[in-house]
């Protein structure tokens, strides 16, 4: 069979967000993948430069609908570091609780999507039902299911009452029960095993070379977790382990995520039981001193990076968001080669892509009415020539 280009997206039932894959296939084998990610450029970074810090936080939450807390915490953490604020431990713990609940519902959501992608809708329905318990907990704590609005520069906005803590603790045993069930299913259910094992294999060296982060990297045996390597919030006080796996395939990524569900439950339980007393915020100054900070955060999908530059006013001069999905795309394009076309959705889903959050830049050639991509060399060249005040020949 000759090579055929299958264009998937931006409209396709398998895609929840707009992206375009041009898959070059030979029969059912994938030869090459061409990606077009930028369908949903929302100008978040520019909007962030025009608001003061208080108003940027809700904006940051809206970068992603699933890891909303990750973005607002990463930003608040960065600004607090520039302002050299000491955040009260109770606030740190509450942030940690929300962060881990968010990780749990994100991973359960992912497990459901991965199951749906291989046509195993029962697991999809079950995990999404169990996810509701976590969302109920978060709603009790913050009043919201998706954008929690818990963070502010200097601490958190809402305190946890003892009743909320008890209610959250009461939900955990049932969740543990369900997660135990899913561990069982992932390790024993035959159709899942044959669809996940050996699919999208990524060795440790490749995982490092392509700069993967999060569960994708950890599934290939890379022990890399910002929560351990550069502890923030309350992670340094809490006993927990980094989950890694040596399989390096979709099966490994599933095992890592399910393992992290366990760890998250442990962290949430520890934080709820050992919630320190005290204030939940400190008053932050209005302006931040001039400075640059790279705020790192372990989002459910991997390392999230916020680069923040301040200039002594109450607004950021520049904020740059690098979502974990962007870091993982290269590895997807690489491990798709020579795989079966039928495995494309599951390999793509295995990094838990969050496409609209990733869309940061679009190159637009207005004269030719074209969008395009830029190579790293070209980017560096442009940067240098701008610094030296040169124009392109």
């Amino acid at each position: 069979m000759p090579e055929v280009v299958v264009s998937i997206g931006p409209h396709h039932p398998a895609l929840k967000e707009p992206v375009n894959f041009k898959v070059v296939v030979d029969g059912e084998k994938i030869v090459r993948l061409e990606l077009d990610l930028s369908y949903n450029h929302r100008g978040v970074e520019k909007a962030a430069e025009q608001r003061d810090f208080i108003r940027v936080l809700p904006l940051m939450e809206r970068v992603c609908g699933i890891c909303s807390h990750a973005h607002s915490t990463a930003f608040a953490k960065g600004i607090e570091e520039i302002m050299q604020l000491e955040i009260p431990p109770r606030a740190q713990y509450i942030r940690t609780i929300i962060a881990e609940l968010e990780r749990m519902h994100s991973h359960l959501l992912w497990l459901g999507v991965a199951a749906h992608v291989i046509g195993f809708n029962t697991l999809f329905m079950w995990t999404w039902r169990d996810r509701e318990a976590i969302q109920d907990t978060v709603e009790e704590m913050s009043g919201n299911r998706v954008h929690y609005g818990m963070n502010e520069v200097g601490g958190v906005r809402r305190d946890l009452t003892p009743a909320q803590v008890t209610a959250a603790l009461e939900r955990l045993p049932n969740l543990e029960e369900r997660i135990k069930k899913y561990v069982d299913m992932v390790n024993k259910e035959e159709t899942m095993l044959i669809r996940f094992r050996g699919v999208g294999k990524l060795s440790k060296e490749e995982a490092l070379r392509y700069g993967t982060v999060g569960p994708t990297a950890r599934a290939s045996g890379v022990d890399y977790d910002i929560r351990k390597d550069d502890p923030y919030l309350a992670y340094a006080d809490v006993p927990w382990n980094v989950v890694t796996d040596t399989n390096g395939d979709v099966y490994g990524r599933t095992r890592v995520r399910i393992g992290e569900l366990w760890e998250s439950i442990r962290i949430v339980r520890y934080c709820l039981e050992n919630l320190p007393e005290g204030p939940i915020r400190v008053t932050a100054p209005r302006n931040a001193p001039t400075g640059e900070i790279l705020s790192r955060y372990e989002a459910p999908r991997g390392e999230l990076v916020h680069f923040i530059r301040t200039n002594g006013t109450d607004k950021v001069e520049r904020v740059d968001i690098r979502t974990p999905t962007l870091a993982n795309w290269t590895s997807v394009a690489m491990c798709l080669v020579n795989q079966n076309l039928a495995d494309l959705p599951v390999i793509v889903a295995a990094i838990d892509p969050c496409l609209s959050c990733t869309s940061r830049i679009t190159l637009l050639d207005n004269q030719n009415k074209k969008t395009g991509v830029m190579s790293l060399d070209e980017l560096i060249w442009r940067n240098r020539s701008r610094d030296q005040g040169q124009e392109r020949p």
């Binding site: 055929v4 299958v6 264009s7 396709h12 039932p13 398998a14 059912e28 199951a115 749906h116 992608v117 291989i118 046509g119 195993f120 809708n121 029962t122 697991l123 329905m125 079950w126 039902r129 259910e189 035959e190 159709t191 899942m192 044959i194 669809r195 079966n340 076309l341 039928a342 495995d343 494309l344 959705p345």
Partner: protein, 324 residues
Amino acid sequence: MTDPMSGVIYIFIFPGFFFLFLYALFLAFLDRKIAARMQQRVGPPFFQPFADFIKMLGKEVIDPAGVDRVIFDAAPLVALAAVMTAYLYIPIVGNSPLAFQGDLVVVLYLMSLPTIVLFLLGWLSRNIFSAIGGIRSVTQLFIYEVPFFLALLTPALMAGTWSISEIVTWQQKNMWFVFLQPIGFIIALIGLQAKLERTPFDIPEAETEIVAGPWTELTGRRLAIMDLTIDVSFVVGSALVAAVFLGGPLIPWAVTPAWLEVVIGFFVFLVKTLAVLLILSSIKVATGRIRIDQLNDIGWKYIASASILQVGIVLVMNYLRVYA
């Protein structure tokens, strides 16, 4: 059939096409409801498949650019006609009055036609997803069809007849084939699941990969007819398995008056088809979709070998005259 009117009623009203459509839509509802309850969902109300059918009949029919409209319109009707014809030879209330030697082969042949039509539709649609889906459905046909045929023909081998009705009569006298040929029964169920393109064999219409496969470009009444074809295939398939392996509508005791025996037989038939439905729905809920190359491995390595093994066992049993 002495009275010509009774033949017309048999074909068109009961247990013919009218009943067939109602029962097909009812089974489609039950299938969805059972799956929904197993997945902790509410599921549709009982008239949902019927409402869907009527609604889709009224929807606009969109012709993809460059498609041969006549064939595109005709293909779903051919598929529906084929499975409806197949239905007439299967014993529903007592034995089928249209039975003849070899109707088992005819039914199996007619049941293959929807798959061929799906391939044709995929090929005609001029859509990459449809084309891939069509190729997959015909690839899958080559994998499951041989074991499925072998599994359903081995009872004929033992009963010494090519007529479904006579196989049913043979079982009434001796024993159900599900006990005599358990391997064949399992293979027949797997084959039926694959024939109806249900999980784990929904490879040709894998939603997350190729949209809806050959179904992608079907709209309006074409989609309605094709949906109905699959629902009817479900009835035909489960009735066929019920007849060949579970003794069909006949009961081993004589009941007087004769009409009561027919009525009881009809309910026995309903129970048996529902049992088949329950098994197939459970398989659907409990599995994910496998890949076509994996199906190829499993199909030819295990399922085909098992069906040949079953034929061998039956030949030995025949030689030893276990039931002669």
